[in-house]
Amino acid sequence: MAIDRHELWGNLGMDLETHDQLCAVLPQAFGDVFLSQENRPEGMAFWDMVVADVHGIRPQELVDEQAKGRKVFGTFCTYVPDEVVIAGNGIVTGLCGGSQFWVPDGEKYLPADMCPLIKASLGARMGKTCPFFRIVDQIVGETTCDGKKKMYEIMAEDVPMYIMNLPNMKRPQDVAAFADEIALFKANVEEITGNEITAEKLAEAIKVINERRKALARVYETRKNGDVIPISGTDALLMMQIAFFDDPVRCAEMANKLADELEQRIADGVSVFPAGTKRILLTGTPLAIPNWKLHHIIETSGAAIVCEENCTGTKFFTNLVDESQDTLEGMYQALAERYMKINCACFTPNKARIDEVLQLAKDYKVDGVINTNLKFCTTFKTEAPALEKVLEEAGIPVLDIETDYTDNDAEQLRTRIGAFVEMLSEK
């Protein structure tokens, strides 16, 4: 008999009957999206394995580590500094939030006109259908958007929550304020784990997370090649989505292994798309696992995604933390400086994102940009016209898409994306 995960899930207090409905649909979606691709890199085997048993393998590892006394911190966002948790010998894990499956349970508590990521996150916790949400000793939120802030208040009634106050401007005093916030978080991690965080431990953790950033960036670097596309955007997205959940050292090892293969593919001229395939940069709201809809539709409509400028893309690994600091205070400031460089739409002003997208479009030699917005994400939606105006002025065609986790706009998306790709081909 196969390892029965039901004992694990039952011990976590999960709703087994409802969760089985999710288990039933994952294999079909995985097959349609990933196994339909030709000539995928061998290095994807690891990431495929993780997702094939996504609620089994990693959750079991986390439970095993908890049995040894380690604490697990769940996070939603790229602004929470993993380094602090690692320095306290804690474990960071991403949380569920990328499926329509969890949305109805979220809507029991939240208005329907709220972004699906927020509704799905709360639904996954309250509906008891995500092992990661059940395992965590504490969830770490951050003040990135109003919807999440109010959702945290509801979630805090069900699970220990710690909220980091992320400033919404990027003046020097805001960076200093976030450095103070990181110091407070350090005290929280020490309290939860019972472990003192020394300068030596934090310095080591900064190196660990920097190594993960470098490895993921290596994979992305291969996607800049204008002649060979060595990996599909859908596969690169899967790597990024799993990076939020996996052990950071192993993640770096596997990403480096994948990058080795992709670099060799470039040397050998091995591409997963025919020559002339239109290159797309996807920007906008995050794509939490298992949200593969847009990538799959774009890449089965005659185009290839060569870069994701979002939290499940470049925002996760761009910019390293300065490793030269040797005091805790110096490291808090270095961490704050790195994290405050992430250009989220929650900041005002956020012109740096526009500049970054423009630069990435050039670096990745794209033919067009697709700017995607999860329904009801007001901040990204509001800055879309300014972004699109600059891209159009630079001669880069752009398509604006608003969608959610449901399947019922797939045909409309195929029509719009197909027309966009066709237009790119006529340029």
Binding site: M1, A2, I3, D4, R5, H6, L22, C23, A24, V25, L26, P27, Q28, A29, F30, G31, D32, V33, L35, S36, R40, E42, M44, A45, D48, M49, V51, A52, D53, H55, G56, I57, G98, S99, Q100, F101, P290, N291, W292, K293, H296, I297, T300, Y405, D407, A410, E411, R414
Partner: protein
Amino acid sequence: MELSEHIEQVKRENPGVRVDCYVLFESHTDAMQLYELVRNAGLGARISTTPRQARSSCGVALLVSCDDAEAIHAIAEDEHVFVENIVALPNQINPNRDVYC
């Protein structure tokens, strides 16, 4: 039923449809071990989720050509990798289905 007989039966029941074989395991470590062995032997294999039609519980499987299924089973036996079952199924993959999780 012998593996070859099972594959032929599924092919007969699904005329005109490609039939794939899924190797099922008790654990993902067995799956990854056999994946490496099969690839090193020059045979094709892909990491897959376990199709619902093959088993009611999820887990890691190998998607292989049914033409290689006997050879892969032999590799598993020779290398003492425990295989729970090898199941032939009519094509489960449809990139145009647009049904997501």
